[in-house]
Protein backbone atom coordinates (compact mmCIF):
# COMPACT_ATOMS: atom_id res chain seq x y z
CA UNK A 1 0.00 0.00 0.00
CA UNK A 2 1.29 3.45 -0.93
CA UNK A 3 0.73 6.01 1.79
CA UNK A 4 1.30 9.70 2.35
CA UNK A 5 3.94 10.31 4.95
CA UNK A 6 6.05 13.11 6.37
CA UNK A 7 9.73 12.94 7.28
CA UNK A 8 10.72 15.33 10.04
CA UNK A 9 14.14 16.85 9.59
CA UNK A 10 16.19 20.00 9.79
CA UNK A 11 19.73 20.78 10.84
CA UNK A 12 18.33 22.09 14.14
CA UNK A 13 18.02 18.46 15.22
CA UNK A 14 21.76 17.94 14.96
CA UNK A 15 22.51 20.23 17.91
CA UNK A 16 21.70 17.36 20.27
CA UNK A 17 25.31 16.31 20.66
CA UNK A 18 27.05 15.32 23.91
CA UNK A 19 30.63 14.87 22.71
CA UNK A 20 32.65 13.14 20.01
CA UNK A 21 33.12 9.94 22.05
CA UNK A 22 29.52 9.58 23.08
CA UNK A 23 27.64 6.57 21.66
CA UNK A 24 24.45 8.58 21.02
CA UNK A 25 25.03 10.40 17.77
CA UNK A 26 22.57 12.28 15.58
CA UNK A 27 24.76 11.56 12.58
CA UNK A 28 22.66 8.41 12.39
CA UNK A 29 19.69 10.51 11.28
CA UNK A 30 21.73 12.11 8.51
CA UNK A 31 23.04 8.73 7.37
CA UNK A 32 19.53 7.28 7.20
CA UNK A 33 18.16 10.32 5.39
CA UNK A 34 20.94 10.28 2.81
CA UNK A 35 20.54 6.57 2.31
CA UNK A 36 16.88 7.16 1.47
CA UNK A 37 17.74 10.02 -0.84
CA UNK A 38 20.30 7.85 -2.63
CA UNK A 39 17.69 5.10 -2.99
CA UNK A 40 15.22 7.62 -4.44
CA UNK A 41 12.58 6.94 -1.82
CA UNK A 42 12.67 10.27 -0.03
CA UNK A 43 11.60 13.41 -1.84
CA UNK A 44 12.33 16.94 -0.61
CA UNK A 45 8.59 17.65 -0.68
CA UNK A 46 8.00 15.02 1.99
CA UNK A 47 10.36 16.64 4.48
CA UNK A 48 8.92 18.88 7.18
CA UNK A 49 10.99 20.93 9.63
CA UNK A 50 10.57 20.32 13.36
CA UNK A 51 9.14 23.13 15.42
CA UNK A 52 10.79 23.97 18.70
CA UNK A 53 8.69 22.71 21.62
CA UNK A 54 7.65 25.53 23.94
CA UNK A 55 8.23 25.37 27.67
CA UNK A 56 4.50 24.92 28.21
CA UNK A 57 4.57 21.93 25.89
CA UNK A 58 7.55 20.39 27.70
CA UNK A 59 5.71 21.01 30.97
CA UNK A 60 2.90 18.71 29.80
CA UNK A 61 5.21 16.01 31.14
CA UNK A 62 8.31 17.59 32.69
CA UNK A 63 8.67 19.50 35.92
CA UNK A 64 9.22 23.26 35.51
CA UNK A 65 12.18 23.17 37.92
CA UNK A 66 13.80 20.48 35.78
CA UNK A 67 13.30 22.50 32.58
CA UNK A 68 14.91 25.51 34.31
CA UNK A 69 17.87 23.38 35.38
CA UNK A 70 18.39 22.13 31.83
CA UNK A 71 18.26 25.71 30.53
CA UNK A 72 20.80 26.86 33.10
CA UNK A 73 23.08 23.90 32.45
CA UNK A 74 23.11 24.67 28.73
CA UNK A 75 24.18 28.21 29.47
CA UNK A 76 26.98 27.08 31.78
CA UNK A 77 25.21 28.52 34.82
CA UNK A 78 24.78 25.36 36.86
CA UNK A 79 27.18 24.77 39.76
CA UNK A 80 29.55 21.82 39.60
CA UNK A 81 27.37 19.15 41.17
CA UNK A 82 24.14 21.03 40.59
CA UNK A 83 23.05 18.76 37.77
CA UNK A 84 23.31 15.46 39.57
CA UNK A 85 19.86 15.56 41.15
CA UNK A 86 18.51 16.05 37.62
CA UNK A 87 20.61 13.24 36.15
CA UNK A 88 22.88 15.51 34.08
CA UNK A 89 26.62 16.01 34.27
CA UNK A 90 27.21 12.25 34.25
CA UNK A 91 29.11 10.25 31.64
CA UNK A 92 25.79 9.05 30.17
CA UNK A 93 24.13 12.43 29.97
CA UNK A 94 26.82 15.12 30.05
CA UNK A 95 26.04 18.81 29.96
CA UNK A 96 26.51 20.51 26.59
CA UNK A 97 26.02 23.99 25.27
CA UNK A 98 22.42 24.96 24.48
CA UNK A 99 21.17 21.56 25.56
CA UNK A 100 17.72 22.95 26.30
CA UNK A 101 17.26 24.32 22.77
CA UNK A 102 18.65 21.22 21.13
CA UNK A 103 16.42 18.94 23.20
CA UNK A 104 13.40 21.16 22.56
CA UNK A 105 13.78 20.65 18.81
CA UNK A 106 13.70 16.88 19.22
CA UNK A 107 10.48 17.10 21.24
CA UNK A 108 9.15 19.67 18.77
CA UNK A 109 9.93 17.27 15.94
CA UNK A 110 7.70 14.64 17.50
CA UNK A 111 4.93 17.22 18.05
CA UNK A 112 5.30 18.30 14.42
CA UNK A 113 4.88 14.65 13.42
CA UNK A 114 1.77 14.39 15.60
CA UNK A 115 0.20 17.48 14.08
CA UNK A 116 1.00 16.34 10.53
CA UNK A 117 -0.88 13.11 11.17
CA UNK A 118 -3.72 14.42 13.31
CA UNK A 119 -4.47 17.35 11.03
CA UNK A 120 -5.13 14.72 8.37
CA UNK A 121 -2.35 15.99 6.14
CA UNK A 122 -0.64 12.61 6.04
CA UNK A 123 -1.28 9.13 7.42
CA UNK A 124 2.16 8.51 8.86
CA UNK A 125 5.10 10.56 10.08
CA UNK A 126 8.66 9.71 11.04
CA UNK A 127 10.90 11.60 13.47
CA UNK A 128 14.18 9.74 13.70
CA UNK A 129 15.54 12.38 16.09
CA UNK A 130 12.99 11.35 18.73
CA UNK A 131 12.39 8.26 20.81
CA UNK A 132 14.20 9.43 23.95
CA UNK A 133 12.32 7.01 26.14
CA UNK A 134 14.46 7.06 29.32
CA UNK A 135 13.70 10.70 30.19
CA UNK A 136 11.79 11.11 33.47
CA UNK A 137 9.56 13.86 34.79
CA UNK A 138 12.44 15.57 36.58
CA UNK A 139 15.50 13.52 35.69
CA UNK A 140 17.57 12.83 32.61
CA UNK A 141 18.85 9.30 32.11
CA UNK A 142 20.34 6.97 29.54
CA UNK A 143 21.26 9.70 26.99
CA UNK A 144 17.73 11.18 27.18
CA UNK A 145 16.98 14.69 28.42
CA UNK A 146 13.40 15.49 27.43
CA UNK A 147 11.14 12.54 26.74
CA UNK A 148 9.57 13.47 23.40
CA UNK A 149 7.27 10.46 23.31
CA UNK A 150 5.84 11.17 26.77
CA UNK A 151 5.33 14.86 25.94
CA UNK A 152 3.70 13.97 22.62
CA UNK A 153 1.35 11.45 24.19
CA UNK A 154 0.26 13.99 26.84
CA UNK A 155 -0.25 16.44 23.97
CA UNK A 156 -2.40 13.96 22.04
CA UNK A 157 -4.43 13.19 25.16
CA UNK A 158 -5.09 16.86 25.89
CA UNK A 159 -5.55 18.19 22.41
CA UNK A 160 -7.18 15.29 20.58
CA UNK A 161 -8.37 12.92 23.34
CA UNK A 162 -7.32 9.78 21.46
CA UNK A 163 -6.38 6.37 22.82
CA UNK A 164 -2.66 5.88 22.26
CA UNK A 165 -0.81 2.60 21.82
CA UNK A 166 2.93 3.12 22.41
CA UNK A 167 5.16 0.31 21.15
CA UNK A 168 8.86 0.26 22.01
CA UNK A 169 11.30 -2.11 20.26
CA UNK A 170 14.51 -0.60 21.64
CA UNK A 171 16.68 -3.26 23.31
CA UNK A 172 16.42 -1.24 26.53
CA UNK A 173 13.15 -1.10 28.45
CA UNK A 174 11.01 1.95 27.60
CA UNK A 175 10.81 2.91 31.27
CA UNK A 176 10.28 6.68 31.08
CA UNK A 177 7.20 6.33 28.89
CA UNK A 178 5.85 3.36 30.82
CA UNK A 179 6.01 5.13 34.21
CA UNK A 180 4.56 8.33 32.73
CA UNK A 181 1.31 6.55 31.86
CA UNK A 182 1.32 3.78 34.45
CA UNK A 183 -2.04 4.86 35.89
CA UNK A 184 -3.65 5.86 32.59
CA UNK A 185 -6.08 3.42 30.92
CA UNK A 186 -6.13 5.50 27.72
CA UNK A 187 -2.44 4.98 27.03
CA UNK A 188 -1.28 1.41 26.55
CA UNK A 189 2.47 0.71 26.49
CA UNK A 190 4.20 -2.34 25.05
CA UNK A 191 7.96 -2.76 25.34
CA UNK A 192 10.06 -5.67 24.08
CA UNK A 193 13.62 -5.53 25.38
CA UNK A 194 16.55 -7.52 26.68
CA UNK A 195 15.79 -8.62 30.25
CA UNK A 196 16.86 -6.09 32.87
CA UNK A 197 18.73 -8.71 34.89
CA UNK A 198 22.00 -7.18 33.72
CA UNK A 199 21.05 -4.50 31.24
CA UNK A 200 20.09 -0.89 31.92
CA UNK A 201 17.59 0.24 33.15
CA UNK A 202 16.89 -3.04 34.94
CA UNK A 203 13.10 -2.69 34.83
CA UNK A 204 10.49 -4.01 32.40
CA UNK A 205 9.44 -7.19 34.16
CA UNK A 206 6.34 -9.05 33.00
CA UNK A 207 4.64 -8.25 36.27
CA UNK A 208 4.81 -4.49 35.60
CA UNK A 209 1.25 -4.19 34.33
CA UNK A 210 0.18 -0.70 35.39
CA UNK A 211 -1.61 0.41 38.55
CA UNK A 212 -5.03 1.76 39.57
CA UNK A 213 -7.14 2.49 36.45
CA UNK A 214 -4.07 1.81 34.33
CA UNK A 215 -3.78 -1.80 35.47
CA UNK A 216 -3.69 -4.06 32.44
CA UNK A 217 -2.44 -1.31 30.11
CA UNK A 218 1.33 -1.79 30.47
CA UNK A 219 2.90 -4.79 28.74
CA UNK A 220 6.48 -6.00 28.91
CA UNK A 221 8.33 -8.71 27.02
CA UNK A 222 11.73 -9.04 28.72
CA UNK A 223 13.55 -11.43 26.39
CA UNK A 224 16.79 -13.25 27.13
CA UNK A 225 20.28 -12.09 26.20
CA UNK A 226 21.34 -13.72 22.87
CA UNK A 227 17.78 -13.87 21.52
CA UNK A 228 17.76 -14.26 17.71
CA UNK A 229 15.43 -13.10 14.91
CA UNK A 230 12.89 -15.92 14.92
CA UNK A 231 12.23 -15.86 18.63
CA UNK A 232 12.17 -12.06 18.75
CA UNK A 233 9.63 -11.89 15.95
CA UNK A 234 7.55 -14.76 17.26
CA UNK A 235 6.85 -13.09 20.59
CA UNK A 236 6.75 -9.54 19.24
CA UNK A 237 4.28 -10.19 16.46
CA UNK A 238 1.93 -12.21 18.67
CA UNK A 239 2.00 -9.59 21.42
CA UNK A 240 1.55 -6.57 19.18
CA UNK A 241 -1.41 -8.12 17.33
CA UNK A 242 -3.10 -9.35 20.47
CA UNK A 243 -2.64 -6.07 22.34
CA UNK A 244 -3.86 -3.97 19.41
CA UNK A 245 -7.01 -6.07 19.26
CA UNK A 246 -7.54 -5.86 23.00
CA UNK A 247 -6.85 -2.13 23.34
CA UNK A 248 -8.38 -0.86 20.06
CA UNK A 249 -6.10 2.19 19.77
CA UNK A 250 -6.91 5.39 17.85
CA UNK A 251 -3.25 6.04 17.06
CA UNK A 252 0.00 4.07 17.27
CA UNK A 253 3.36 5.55 18.25
CA UNK A 254 6.40 3.34 17.77
CA UNK A 255 9.85 3.85 19.24
CA UNK A 256 12.39 2.27 16.89
CA UNK A 257 15.64 1.86 18.76
CA UNK A 258 17.93 -0.26 16.58
CA UNK A 259 20.13 -1.74 19.30
CA UNK A 260 18.85 -5.34 19.32
CA UNK A 261 21.15 -6.13 16.39
CA UNK A 262 24.02 -8.55 16.97
CA UNK A 263 26.53 -5.82 16.06
CA UNK A 264 25.28 -3.43 18.74
CA UNK A 265 28.00 -2.79 21.33
CA UNK A 266 25.70 -1.98 24.28
CA UNK A 267 23.29 -4.91 24.33
CA UNK A 268 23.42 -8.70 24.10
CA UNK A 269 20.57 -9.44 21.72
CA UNK A 270 21.46 -11.19 18.46
CA UNK A 271 19.04 -9.95 15.82
CA UNK A 272 19.74 -9.09 12.18
CA UNK A 273 18.18 -6.67 9.71
CA UNK A 274 15.28 -9.13 9.35
CA UNK A 275 13.57 -7.77 12.46
CA UNK A 276 13.90 -4.20 11.19
CA UNK A 277 11.89 -5.12 8.11
CA UNK A 278 9.11 -6.81 10.04
CA UNK A 279 8.83 -4.23 12.85
CA UNK A 280 7.63 -1.34 10.66
CA UNK A 281 5.57 -3.70 8.49
CA UNK A 282 3.54 -4.77 11.53
CA UNK A 283 3.05 -1.22 12.77
CA UNK A 284 1.94 -0.21 9.29
CA UNK A 285 -0.53 -3.05 8.99
CA UNK A 286 -2.03 -2.59 12.45
CA UNK A 287 -2.29 1.19 12.12
CA UNK A 288 -4.48 0.63 9.06
CA UNK A 289 -6.52 -2.08 10.78
CA UNK A 290 -7.31 -0.09 13.91
CA UNK A 291 -6.35 3.57 13.51
CA UNK A 292 -7.23 4.54 9.97
CA UNK A 293 -3.49 4.61 9.34
CA UNK A 294 -2.54 6.99 12.12
CA UNK A 295 1.03 5.97 12.91
CA UNK A 296 3.97 8.01 14.16
CA UNK A 297 7.39 6.41 14.25
CA UNK A 298 10.34 7.67 16.28
CA UNK A 299 14.03 6.79 16.41
CA UNK A 300 15.77 5.83 19.65
CA UNK A 301 18.85 3.85 20.59
CA UNK A 302 21.17 2.05 18.22
CA UNK A 303 24.91 2.26 18.71
CA UNK A 304 26.33 0.69 15.60
CA UNK A 305 25.83 3.96 13.76
CA UNK A 306 27.30 2.83 10.46
CA UNK A 307 26.29 -0.73 9.70
CA UNK A 308 23.00 -1.08 11.52
CA UNK A 309 21.07 2.09 12.23
CA UNK A 310 20.94 3.75 8.76
CA UNK A 311 19.50 0.65 7.10
CA UNK A 312 17.13 -0.14 9.98
CA UNK A 313 15.73 3.39 10.09
CA UNK A 314 15.55 3.78 6.32
CA UNK A 315 13.36 0.68 6.13
CA UNK A 316 10.78 2.35 8.39
CA UNK A 317 10.36 5.05 5.77
CA UNK A 318 10.38 2.56 2.91
CA UNK A 319 7.52 0.67 4.56
CA UNK A 320 5.65 3.87 5.44
CA UNK A 321 5.62 5.14 1.90
CA UNK A 322 5.54 2.02 -0.26
CA UNK A 323 4.28 -0.68 2.09
CA UNK A 324 7.44 -2.67 1.40
CA UNK A 325 11.02 -2.82 2.61
CA UNK A 326 13.90 -2.52 0.15
CA UNK A 327 15.78 -5.53 -1.16
CA UNK A 328 19.11 -5.93 -2.85
CA UNK A 329 22.04 -3.57 -3.02
CA UNK A 330 22.73 -0.44 -1.03
CA UNK A 331 23.13 2.52 -3.43
CA UNK A 332 26.70 2.94 -4.58
CA UNK A 333 26.60 6.73 -4.07
CA UNK A 334 25.89 6.37 -0.38
CA UNK A 335 28.60 3.75 0.11
CA UNK A 336 31.26 5.76 -1.64
CA UNK A 337 30.33 8.94 0.17
CA UNK A 338 30.52 7.48 3.67
CA UNK A 339 32.97 4.56 3.50
CA UNK A 340 35.92 6.92 3.95
CA UNK A 341 34.56 8.19 7.23
CA UNK A 342 33.34 4.86 8.58
CA UNK A 343 35.70 2.93 10.86
CA UNK A 344 34.08 -0.32 9.74
CA UNK A 345 33.29 -1.73 6.36
CA UNK A 346 29.78 -0.66 5.30
CA UNK A 347 27.20 -3.31 4.34
CA UNK A 348 26.64 -3.59 0.60
CA UNK A 349 23.09 -4.97 0.80
CA UNK A 350 19.89 -4.09 2.63
CA UNK A 351 19.65 -7.60 4.08
CA UNK A 352 22.18 -9.23 6.41
CA UNK A 353 23.90 -12.51 5.84
CA UNK A 354 22.62 -14.93 8.53
CA UNK A 355 26.23 -15.91 9.26
CA UNK A 356 26.96 -12.65 11.05
CA UNK A 357 25.21 -14.05 14.13
CA UNK A 358 27.50 -16.14 16.34
CA UNK A 359 26.33 -19.65 17.17
CA UNK A 360 24.20 -19.55 20.29
CA UNK A 361 24.48 -22.87 22.12
CA UNK A 362 21.38 -22.30 24.22
CA UNK A 363 19.15 -21.14 21.38
CA UNK A 364 16.44 -23.72 22.08
CA UNK A 365 16.20 -22.81 25.78
CA UNK A 366 16.15 -19.11 25.01
CA UNK A 367 13.37 -19.52 22.47
CA UNK A 368 11.33 -21.58 24.90
CA UNK A 369 11.85 -19.13 27.73
CA UNK A 370 10.85 -16.16 25.57
CA UNK A 371 7.67 -17.98 24.59
CA UNK A 372 6.82 -18.41 28.28
CA UNK A 373 7.38 -14.69 28.74
CA UNK A 374 4.90 -14.03 25.95
CA UNK A 375 2.23 -16.25 27.44
CA UNK A 376 2.65 -14.72 30.84
CA UNK A 377 2.58 -11.15 29.49
CA UNK A 378 -0.68 -11.80 27.63
CA UNK A 379 -2.40 -13.71 30.41
CA UNK A 380 -4.95 -11.00 31.09
CA UNK A 381 -5.75 -9.82 27.57
CA UNK A 382 -6.91 -13.33 26.72
CA UNK A 383 -9.21 -13.37 29.73
CA UNK A 384 -10.76 -10.08 28.83
CA UNK A 385 -11.70 -10.60 25.27
CA UNK A 386 -12.81 -14.23 25.33
Amino acid sequence: MKCDASFVFSDAMLGYHFNADHPFNQKRVVLAKELLAAANTLDESQIIAPKKATEDELALFHDRAYIQAIKKAGEGLLQDDGGLEYGIGTEDTPIFQNMHDASSYLVGGTLTAVDAVLSGKVSHALNLGGGLHHGFKRRAAGFCIYNDAAVAIKYIREKYNLKVLYVDTDAHHGDGVQWAFYEDPNVCTLSIHETGRYLFPGTGNINERGIKDGHGYAFNLPIDAFTEDDSFLQVYEAAFKEIAEYFQPDIIITQNGADAHCYDPLTHLCATMAIYEKIPALAHELSHTYCNGKWIALGGGGYDSWRVVPRAWAQIWNVMTTGKHKLGDIPEDWLSKWQMESPVSLPATWQDDKNIVPTIPRKKDITEKNYKVLQSALKYTKHRHT
Binding site: A141, G142, F200, P201, Y263
Partner: protein, 216 residues
Protein backbone atom coordinates in the same frame (compact mmCIF):
# COMPACT_ATOMS: atom_id res chain seq x y z
CA UNK B 1 19.08 -1.80 58.40
CA UNK B 2 16.97 -2.04 61.55
CA UNK B 3 13.75 -3.91 62.16
CA UNK B 4 11.92 -0.68 63.03
CA UNK B 5 12.50 0.55 59.48
CA UNK B 6 10.76 -2.36 57.82
CA UNK B 7 8.16 -3.50 60.38
CA UNK B 8 4.45 -2.88 60.01
CA UNK B 9 3.35 -0.91 63.09
CA UNK B 10 -0.39 -1.39 62.47
CA UNK B 11 -0.96 -4.83 63.88
CA UNK B 12 -4.32 -6.53 64.21
CA UNK B 13 -4.48 -8.54 67.46
CA UNK B 14 -6.92 -10.74 69.37
CA UNK B 15 -7.15 -11.78 72.99
CA UNK B 16 -6.76 -15.39 74.16
CA UNK B 17 -10.45 -15.70 74.97
CA UNK B 18 -11.51 -14.71 71.45
CA UNK B 19 -13.00 -17.61 69.45
CA UNK B 20 -11.69 -19.50 66.45
CA UNK B 21 -14.66 -18.12 64.53
CA UNK B 22 -13.49 -14.58 65.26
CA UNK B 23 -9.96 -15.44 64.16
CA UNK B 24 -11.30 -16.84 60.89
CA UNK B 25 -13.13 -13.60 60.18
CA UNK B 26 -10.14 -11.41 61.08
CA UNK B 27 -7.74 -13.44 58.89
CA UNK B 28 -10.13 -13.37 55.99
CA UNK B 29 -11.21 -9.74 56.11
CA UNK B 30 -7.70 -8.36 56.54
CA UNK B 31 -6.00 -10.81 54.17
CA UNK B 32 -3.35 -11.60 56.77
CA UNK B 33 -1.91 -14.92 57.79
CA UNK B 34 -0.94 -14.38 61.44
CA UNK B 35 -2.62 -12.87 64.48
CA UNK B 36 -0.59 -12.13 67.61
CA UNK B 37 -2.53 -12.92 70.78
CA UNK B 38 -2.10 -10.27 73.46
CA UNK B 39 -3.36 -9.59 76.97
CA UNK B 40 -4.71 -6.24 78.13
CA UNK B 41 -1.14 -4.96 78.67
CA UNK B 42 -0.28 -5.69 74.99
CA UNK B 43 2.06 -8.47 76.11
CA UNK B 44 2.38 -11.09 73.40
CA UNK B 45 1.28 -14.40 74.87
CA UNK B 46 0.77 -16.41 71.71
CA UNK B 47 0.36 -16.38 67.98
CA UNK B 48 -2.25 -17.94 65.73
CA UNK B 49 -1.67 -18.58 62.04
CA UNK B 50 -4.18 -19.30 59.29
CA UNK B 51 -2.78 -22.80 59.34
CA UNK B 52 -3.55 -23.28 63.07
CA UNK B 53 -7.09 -22.09 62.44
CA UNK B 54 -7.54 -24.35 59.44
CA UNK B 55 -6.21 -27.36 61.33
CA UNK B 56 -8.60 -26.68 64.19
CA UNK B 57 -11.63 -26.00 61.99
CA UNK B 58 -14.06 -28.86 61.59
CA UNK B 59 -14.47 -30.44 58.21
CA UNK B 60 -17.73 -29.88 56.36
CA UNK B 61 -18.64 -33.54 56.95
CA UNK B 62 -19.16 -32.95 60.64
CA UNK B 63 -21.85 -30.28 60.51
CA UNK B 64 -23.18 -30.91 63.99
CA UNK B 65 -19.97 -30.34 65.88
CA UNK B 66 -18.87 -27.49 63.62
CA UNK B 67 -20.54 -24.68 65.46
CA UNK B 68 -19.21 -26.00 68.76
CA UNK B 69 -15.58 -26.21 67.63
CA UNK B 70 -15.63 -22.72 66.18
CA UNK B 71 -16.61 -21.39 69.59
CA UNK B 72 -13.41 -22.74 71.20
CA UNK B 73 -11.09 -20.06 72.57
CA UNK B 74 -7.87 -19.21 70.79
CA UNK B 75 -5.76 -20.09 73.81
CA UNK B 76 -6.59 -23.72 73.04
CA UNK B 77 -4.87 -23.57 69.63
CA UNK B 78 -2.36 -20.69 69.79
CA UNK B 79 1.41 -21.34 69.61
CA UNK B 80 3.44 -20.19 72.60
CA UNK B 81 5.88 -19.12 73.85
CA UNK B 82 6.46 -16.74 70.93
CA UNK B 83 9.83 -15.80 69.43
CA UNK B 84 9.92 -12.02 69.16
CA UNK B 85 12.42 -9.43 67.93
CA UNK B 86 13.27 -5.88 69.02
CA UNK B 87 12.90 -2.74 66.84
CA UNK B 88 16.66 -2.22 67.10
CA UNK B 89 17.56 -5.70 65.86
CA UNK B 90 19.17 -5.98 62.46
CA UNK B 91 17.02 -7.07 59.57
CA UNK B 92 19.46 -9.89 58.77
CA UNK B 93 18.92 -11.36 62.25
CA UNK B 94 15.23 -11.66 61.44
CA UNK B 95 16.16 -13.41 58.21
CA UNK B 96 18.07 -16.03 60.21
CA UNK B 97 15.06 -16.55 62.46
CA UNK B 98 12.80 -17.08 59.45
CA UNK B 99 15.26 -19.54 58.00
CA UNK B 100 16.20 -21.48 61.14
CA UNK B 101 12.77 -21.63 62.77
CA UNK B 102 10.79 -21.80 59.53
CA UNK B 103 8.54 -18.96 60.64
CA UNK B 104 6.89 -16.66 58.15
CA UNK B 105 6.39 -13.79 60.56
CA UNK B 106 7.63 -12.45 63.93
CA UNK B 107 6.11 -9.92 66.36
CA UNK B 108 8.26 -6.93 67.29
CA UNK B 109 8.27 -6.16 71.02
CA UNK B 110 9.64 -3.15 72.87
CA UNK B 111 9.43 -2.84 76.66
CA UNK B 112 7.36 -6.09 76.72
CA UNK B 113 4.71 -4.47 74.49
CA UNK B 114 3.80 -5.39 70.91
CA UNK B 115 4.82 -2.56 68.54
CA UNK B 116 4.87 -4.21 65.13
CA UNK B 117 5.19 -7.26 62.92
CA UNK B 118 7.71 -8.32 60.30
CA UNK B 119 6.71 -10.84 57.66
CA UNK B 120 8.77 -12.85 55.21
CA UNK B 121 7.29 -10.65 52.50
CA UNK B 122 8.64 -7.47 54.17
CA UNK B 123 11.98 -9.21 54.35
CA UNK B 124 12.01 -10.05 50.64
CA UNK B 125 10.97 -6.54 49.74
CA UNK B 126 13.92 -5.24 51.74
CA UNK B 127 16.19 -7.67 49.94
CA UNK B 128 14.99 -6.38 46.56
CA UNK B 129 15.93 -2.88 47.69
CA UNK B 130 19.30 -3.99 49.05
CA UNK B 131 20.19 -5.51 45.68
CA UNK B 132 19.31 -2.23 44.00
CA UNK B 133 17.27 -3.72 41.18
CA UNK B 134 14.54 -1.17 41.77
CA UNK B 135 16.58 1.74 40.38
CA UNK B 136 17.71 2.36 36.81
CA UNK B 137 21.01 0.53 36.50
CA UNK B 138 23.36 -1.82 34.67
CA UNK B 139 24.82 -4.86 36.37
CA UNK B 140 28.53 -5.72 36.51
CA UNK B 141 30.22 -8.64 38.29
CA UNK B 142 33.94 -8.56 39.05
CA UNK B 143 36.00 -11.47 40.35
CA UNK B 144 38.63 -10.21 42.82
CA UNK B 145 41.22 -11.67 45.17
CA UNK B 146 39.89 -11.83 48.72
CA UNK B 147 42.15 -9.26 50.37
CA UNK B 148 41.88 -5.99 52.32
CA UNK B 149 41.43 -2.81 50.33
CA UNK B 150 40.13 -4.45 47.20
CA UNK B 151 36.65 -2.93 47.35
CA UNK B 152 37.78 0.74 47.38
CA UNK B 153 40.32 -0.14 44.68
CA UNK B 154 37.63 -1.42 42.32
CA UNK B 155 35.13 1.26 43.35
CA UNK B 156 37.59 4.00 42.46
CA UNK B 157 37.38 2.91 38.82
CA UNK B 158 33.70 3.86 38.83
CA UNK B 159 34.47 7.09 40.69
CA UNK B 160 36.94 8.21 38.04
CA UNK B 161 34.23 7.83 35.40
CA UNK B 162 31.71 9.75 37.53
CA UNK B 163 29.52 6.67 37.47
CA UNK B 164 27.05 6.46 40.30
CA UNK B 165 26.97 3.12 42.13
CA UNK B 166 23.45 2.25 43.25
CA UNK B 167 24.27 -0.96 45.10
CA UNK B 168 27.16 -3.26 45.96
CA UNK B 169 27.06 -6.91 46.99
CA UNK B 170 29.97 -9.15 47.92
CA UNK B 171 29.53 -12.86 47.22
CA UNK B 172 31.79 -15.82 47.87
CA UNK B 173 33.33 -17.22 44.67
CA UNK B 174 32.11 -20.81 44.35
CA UNK B 175 34.07 -22.75 46.97
CA UNK B 176 37.34 -20.89 46.57
CA UNK B 177 38.08 -18.79 49.69
CA UNK B 178 40.83 -16.89 47.83
CA UNK B 179 38.34 -14.99 45.64
CA UNK B 180 35.17 -12.94 45.97
CA UNK B 181 32.62 -11.71 43.47
CA UNK B 182 31.77 -8.02 43.68
CA UNK B 183 28.40 -7.19 42.18
CA UNK B 184 27.83 -3.55 41.29
CA UNK B 185 24.69 -1.95 39.99
CA UNK B 186 25.72 1.29 38.34
CA UNK B 187 23.63 4.12 37.00
CA UNK B 188 24.74 4.07 33.42
CA UNK B 189 23.43 2.89 30.11
CA UNK B 190 26.89 2.72 28.63
CA UNK B 191 29.05 0.55 30.89
CA UNK B 192 31.65 0.03 28.13
CA UNK B 193 34.15 2.69 29.29
CA UNK B 194 34.03 1.38 32.87
CA UNK B 195 34.31 -2.20 31.65
CA UNK B 196 37.37 -1.29 29.61
CA UNK B 197 38.91 0.50 32.60
CA UNK B 198 38.31 -2.52 34.81
CA UNK B 199 39.87 -4.85 32.26
CA UNK B 200 42.84 -2.53 31.87
CA UNK B 201 43.35 -2.67 35.64
CA UNK B 202 43.52 -6.44 35.29
CA UNK B 203 40.20 -7.40 36.86
CA UNK B 204 38.32 -10.40 35.60
CA UNK B 205 34.66 -9.77 34.74
CA UNK B 206 32.06 -12.46 35.33
CA UNK B 207 29.43 -10.37 33.55
CA UNK B 208 29.55 -9.15 30.91
CA UNK B 209 32.01 -11.65 29.50
CA UNK B 210 30.02 -14.79 28.91
CA UNK B 211 29.57 -13.88 25.27
CA UNK B 212 29.09 -16.85 23.02
CA UNK B 213 31.01 -15.23 20.24
CA UNK B 214 32.66 -11.95 19.45
CA UNK B 215 30.31 -9.03 18.89
CA UNK B 216 32.45 -6.99 16.62
Amino acid sequence: MLVEEIMNPDVITLTPDATIAEALTVLHENRIRHIPIVDDQLHVIGIVSDRDVRDASPSILQKDSAEKVLQNELKSIMSHPVVTVHPLDFVEEVASIFYDEEFACVPVVRDYKLVGMVTEKDMLYTLIHLTGTNVQSSHIEVKVPHKPGILPEVASVFGKRKTNITSVLVYPFKNDPNYKILVFRIQTMNPMPVINDLRECGYELMWPNNMTGPKS
